[in-house]
């Protein structure tokens, strides 16, 4: 569950005021809006990153996380550019969150291979991110975000800048993830067809206001 209560944000000179929205637990939420309207700022605020919360609250899975560090929020975040850890292998990328949580080596291996099977990145595990295609990088970023079973998954335009075939593949993958894993998803996009294909709860951002569509 993601709930925003009268949330006001500031990111540099950019401000968003009085945002209210709810995405029910386990739902696939879609956030739409024009480029530059503040979608990414809102997503980053939910993740606890740069934007400054100047009013209101953010609730994730029945917990007020407004003042919590990103590490304490239990989220998975897939940024637009994937931002894979360049100096680590794909395996280490996916295992990152598990190592921080002190999992033992066998458990980590198990979990990484399980995710790699689901997301179809098993052949990549020993490689480093340099030279991966956009679609492969996106898959790895998804696996990395899902590794520690977060309650909320934040996807920042996961399907942009992909060729048509890969687009379809990742779309199918997201559907599958939504079906297989119990996770609330917030997916930013400006493509209506994407929204219709994947979404269950629809949010639209317009002129600094957040509206819930049906």
């Amino acid at each position: 569950m993601i709930r925003l209560e009268n949330l006001s944000l500031r990111n540099g000179s950019f401000e968003l005021d009085d945002l209210c929205a709810t995405i029910p637990a386990g739902s696939y939420g879609i956030l739409m809006g024009r480029t530059g309207c503040g979608k990414t700022t809102l997503l980053e605020a939910i993740c606890g990153l740069r934007p400054q919360v100047i009013g209101g609250n953010i609730w994730l899975n029945n917990q007020d996380v407004t003042r919590l560090k990103p590490a304490e929020r239990g989220i998975g975040y897939v940024p637009q550019d994937s931002a894979l850890f360049e100096t680590m292998t794909i395996f280490e990328n996916v295992a990152f969150a598990l190592r921080l949580r002190g999992w033992d080596e066998a458990g980590i291996k198990n979990r990484v291979h399980q995710l790699a099977d689901l997301i179809a990145i098993t052949p990549l595990l020993e490689r480093k991110p340099f030279g991966l295609s956009g679609g492969e990088a996106k898959r790895v970023a998804l696996a990395r975000a899902l590794a520690s079973s977060p309650g909320v998954l934040c996807l920042d335009e996961p399907l942009s800048a992909l060729d048509e075939e890969t687009h379809t593949e990742i779309c199918d993958l997201l559907t599958e993830i939504h079906r297989e894993i119990d996770v609330t998803i917030l997916h930013i996009t400006h493509s209506r067809s994407e929204a219709q294909r994947l979404g269950e709860t629809f949010l639209r951002m317009e002129d600094g206001r957040l509206m819930t569509d049906d």
Binding site: G48, L49, K69, P79, A83, R101
Partner: protein
């Protein structure tokens, strides 16, 4: 009659301009600078004298010895007193023996002792007898010393056997390495903070960090000297032990330098900053660190903060993200900053001169050695030390470049 438009020019006629002139221009400008650097190094190679073989030395000595003999013969002609003549004759005989001996070592020591003791005594004797042989004997002495002067080691041997210069080479290497490591230790965190965080007065801090880059290094030395020695916190009693064992107690200003000595004395140490090795390192560090900070900041600016942010959402603290994500990516920048700091430290001279002076076997670094040798006219030896500095810098820079290549981009 017809208004037919002019036909389009045939597309195949167009020829883009040749790039030859562009590359020639670039190449000649770059080549000119390269040529300047190489000629500089070449000059340093040419100037120092290599050692000569014994035969060559003897050949060079022969004319001077012959000249000495002719002057002694002149003196013999002039001298009339029987006693004086025998003395001159024996000196002449000795010189002849030297010329025929064929041993470089023997010639040089013999000629020197002849010129410096026997002929001086002879001159005194001649003065006593009232015969003026000053001119002849002086010329003979000069010729003998000239002959002896051909027997000298090469400038390379002279420099490498000089314990002061050996010490300065060691000190340079050690102090540069320490100040480069210290610079990195400071520059990595400052660079990261300045690159990632916005705060009030950031521009002010940025400008202050640039001051050591803009300031003449000499001024930094002066500043250090004043901080450590001219600012005092009250007075204190200092005991001096004279050579005869008596103690004199003098009241002196309690400067920072004094306090450091006092403090280190508790641990049985005699730490000194001004005029000491730690001062050399501090002076080098002050300048080098500013360059390292600049380099590290640029490095962190070029690493997108996105990866750290993802790491933090995955459960990492900011510190953890720094160690596991940012620093491994910044390793080339760290190497570059370390290299720059090391190289700056090797060339540092002004602040060391002012803050620590040039005390042989204590604060003399290689750049000070060059200055010392140059100031007493030993240009050739100064060139040898400079060459050695170039070699040292070249080896270290190449090594770091090699390490940087082989360890930073394993998968690229």
């Amino acid at each position: 009659m017809s208004d037919a438009p002019a036909p389009d020019p045939a597309p195949s006629v167009f020829q883009p301009r040749s790039d030859t002139a562009f590359f020639l221009g670039m190449g000649s400008l770059g080549g000119f600078y390269l040529f300047l650097i190489l000629s500089l190094i070449l000059a340093l190679v040419i100037v120092p004298r290599w050692g000569k073989s014994d035969d060559a030395k003897l050949q060079l000595m022969a004319p001077s010895l012959k000249e000495a003999m002719s002057h002694l013969e002149d003196a013999e002609d002039k001298a009339t007193g029987a006693e004086l003549t025998t003395d001159i004759k024996s000196a002449l005989g000795e010189t002849r023996q030297l010329a025929e001996s064929g041993k470089v070592n023997k010639v040089s020591t013999g000629a020197r002792s002849l010129a410096n003791s026997k002929l001086v005594k002879l001159l005194k004797k001649s003065d006593a007898t009232g015969i003026d042989l000053t001119r002849e004997i002086d010329l003979a002495r000069k010729a003998l010393l000239d002959a002896a002067a051909w027997d000298r080691p090469s400038d390379y041997a002279a420099v490498f056997n000089d314990p002061n210069i050996r010490y300065s080479a060691k000190l340079s290497f050690v102090s540069c390495t320490i100040s480069a490591l210290l610079s990195l230790w400071i520059a990595v965190p400052i660079g990261y903070l300045m690159s990632r965080f916005e705060f009030r007065g950031k521009n002010f801090v940025d400008t202050i960090l640039d001051i050591p880059i803009v300031l003449p290094p000499l001024v930094i030395g002066l500043g250090l000297l004043i901080v450590f020695n001219n600012i005092s916190f009250g007075t204190m009693d200092v005991a001096y032990v004279d050579s005869d064992g008596s103690r004199t107690v003098v009241q002196e200003n309690r400067t920072i330098e004094r306090m450091i000595r006092e403090f280190s004395a508790w641990f049985g140490l005699q730490l000194r900053v001004t005029n000491g090795v730690s001062g050399v390192i501090l002076a080098q560090f002050m300048v080098a660190c500013a360059f390292a900070v600049r380099t590290m900041r640029n490095t962190f600016d070029q690493i997108s903060p996105r990866q750290e942010e993802v790491a933090m959402t995955l459960g990492s603290s900011r510190g953890g993200a720094f160690w596991s994500i940012v620093l491994p990516q910044a390793n080339r920048g760290v190497l570059a900053a370390g290299t720059l700091a090391w190289a700056r430290s090797l060339g540092e001279f002004g602040p060391i001169l002012i803050f620590c002076g040039i005390f042989p076997q204590r604060t003399e670094v290689m750049s000070s050695s060059v200055y010392l040798l140059f100031s007493v006219g030993e240009i050739e030896k100064a060139a040898v030390v400079s060459l050695f500095m170039i070699l040292l810098a070249f080896v270290v820079l190449m090594l770091i470049r090699y390490l940087g290549k082989s360890h930073t981009m394993p998968n690229r």
